[in-house]
Symmetry: C2
Subunit: 398 residues, 2 copies
């Protein structure tokens, strides 16, 4: 990006265009097998049903579905979301606890906006979601990464980070099928982190885009379901269980924060598309999402199995990877000396792409990882791409 002629806000120095993103942009050729994005399988979107739903919404509600609406969102949609959450995530929320957002990304942005001053601290898993880093960075916080293992964020490490840092405003977590690691938190860890956050009086942000995409094992309660002190902000979205292109998501916020979220959303975009909200609400009423989610799970489970089988067979010694029980991603860890950018460049020469791990560590380092997405490509492409990836890794380590 060239030097600006105009005088920018200081926050723009923190927000740099990702070099990785630029690198990956160059590779959107059809011959590239991309494990880089976080895209759902588009062939599962119910396009015909959406056309029918839209016709019905516009026929029965007319112009009202095209008019301005309230910032907090469509009341029937909020009621349907509350009902689904209480069923699927064992929460006890009502429509009045919910605000509709223009994607969960907006939930992250508005969270930064109401909570963060420059120099405040965001505690996150290590690694964590790159989009959350980007959203929070606009408010110029310091990030503190907390040790995270296969059971989730380590409670002792979280307590130590809280003790060592003043001005912690947010603890950010993705407890189910984490992006990028694919890990899922144990029940014990969930309870411990919820308790520690509440005791510290620090808002715990639970980002749950994948929670309903479980391929195996038993669902675990959301952090919000364990939240006895009204201290958890829950971010839910229709992007991974329905259609991401609609940009329709929601948040559940503690009673003191919800009116603030509504206030800043009003300043940010007035409200989420009225028509989109009515489309989603009517789809939920008419079809529900259970069949759709079942299809998604079946397809992603197979793709994950294909990818894991190749990695299992063909990755050399010294390279490990996670075995996610759901979601869209798995996470490969290479020996520490491996430079992720060089590996990516070698992979791109073989027409296979992924996101190098460094992007997921707000404090830097850790270039020796790779996030592989298994949801977007059909199984035969997943297999071929995984083989190419493993071949490049083997050459690289020789």
């Amino acid at each position: 990006m060239t030097q600006p002629r105009h005088s920018l806000a200081r926050r723009m120095e923190f927000l740099r265009a990702s070099e990785i993103r630029e690198l990956l942009k160059l590779t959107q050729k059809p011959e590239v097998i991309s494990f880089a994005g976080g895209l759902p399988a588009a062939e599962l979107f119910p396009a015909a049903e959406m056309a029918e739903i839209t016709r019905r919404v516009l026929e029965t509600e007319g112009s009202k579905a095209l008019q301005y609406s309230t910032t907090e969102g469509d009341p029937p949609l909020r009621a349907l979301i509350a009902e689904r959450m209480n069923r699927a995530q064992h929460t006890r929320v009502t429509a009045d606890d919910i605000m509709i957002t223009s994607g969960s990304q907006q939930g992250l942005d508005l969270t930064g906006k109401i909570l963060l001053d420059e120099g405040d601290v965001v505690i996150c898993e290590s690694p964590t979601y790159v989009g959350a880093i980007g959203a929070f960075k606009a408010y110029q916080p310091r990030f503190v990464e907390v040790e995270t293992d296969d059971q989730g964020m380590v409670p002792e490490a979280l307590a130590a980070a809280l003790a060592a840092n003043d001005r912690v405003k947010i603890i950010y977590a993705i407890p189910d099928f984490q992006n990028p690691s694919g890990r899922t938190w144990s029940l014990e860890r969930r309870q411990a982190v919820v308790d520690i956050a509440a005791r510290a009086g620090v808002v715990l942000v639970e980002d749950a885009p994948y929670a309903e995409l479980r391929f195996e094992g038993e669902p675990l309660p959301a952090l919000k379901a364990l939240d006895e002190h009204d201290n958890v902000v829950f971010l839910g979205t229709f992007s991974k269980i329905f259609c991401p292109g609609l940009r329709c998501a929601w948040l559940v916020a503690p009673a003191d924060l919800l009116p603030r979220y509504i206030m800043v959303k009003q300043g940010a975009d007035l409200h989420t598309s009225t028509l989109v909200q009515r489309q989603v609400a009517c789809y939920l009423e008419q079809f529900g999402l259970e069949d759709n989610i079942a299809r998604v799970i079946e397809v992603y489970r197979e793709r994950r199995a294909v990818m894991m089988a190749v990695l299992e067979a063909e990755l050399p010694d010294g390279v490990t990877f996670t075995r996610p029980e759901g979601g869209l991603f798995l996470w490969v860890t290479l020996p520490e000396h491996v430079n992720g950018r060089d590996l990516l460049e070698a992979c791109l020469k073989r027409d296979v792409a992924y996101v190098p791990g460094g992007a997921f560590y707000p404090c830097g380092g850790n270039e020796n990882h790779a996030r592989l997405n298994f949801s977007f490509m059909p199984p035969e492409r997943v297999e071929e791409g995984a083989k190419r990836f493993c071949a490049v890794v083997r050459e690289f380590l020789e």
Copy 2:
């Protein structure tokens, strides 16, 4: 709003829920004649055509219209917008100069985000759009109001404000049928302000939601059309010329700023709804907006005439009002001693609502004005409401 339990960002002290908004919320009874909102006439929205367009988009493009898309926005939509702008506003922009936003409100928010540090200065008309005040306030600027008369912002006053204030980052203007005043800038003033802003190197933000809704007189070039130094950010929207509930708008930014807008939009909501963008683009291709705009103009022109006739006949001496050549609003100025809040309460008792002028002055004061919207209510309600308003004003001044 109750005291928060959690520690908030300092910006939240600046952002207070509007008391006026709360007051007006209580009045959403059907018997109230509301001149308070800025709502278009919903009966003019093409609901049936939108259903048909949606069917066609989903049939021909399938799931792609429901998938994630790029942050800058749909390329065909951006090309259509450039073509329309160059025709209607005499600009010379290309699709590559344009970013799609989730409503113009988002354009305002992102402008604050890339340009404003705490204590920076926003120069604006006096009065100015309350939603812009709200969007910018989140970035904690100081506002400097510049004298504005029936020809627009006064150039000498603007130059003086620039000379008197360090750290001016934004000059914000609504040159056509301004919200709230209904005023339109003369060509001379447009040229002068464009030149002064360019010479100062300060970004000039042109908010143009109403520019195409001209009832009489000749269209004047957009500030962007006079911008020889690539210094103007133009905010355009489909809200007033098509359907506001879609939340689809755009901005044209100087070459050094556009990549920054894209970067912060990515953090704010990834992108505007793919389906909405495809719906708007296909509607533009299929039907254009010219017939729709012609219908809107005809309807609003009549409502404005009805309102103006009543105000002309029934407002007492000492009360003046603007005669807008387009847009949605007119602006009543009462004697200085009148307290706008008291007048509003008296009007609400008679079931007529409007927005008191104080809300449109970021530096406070000026409670002796009233913004009246004439686009939303049918003519007979406009007439009845205007009569009630005049009756209350007369009682008040006696």
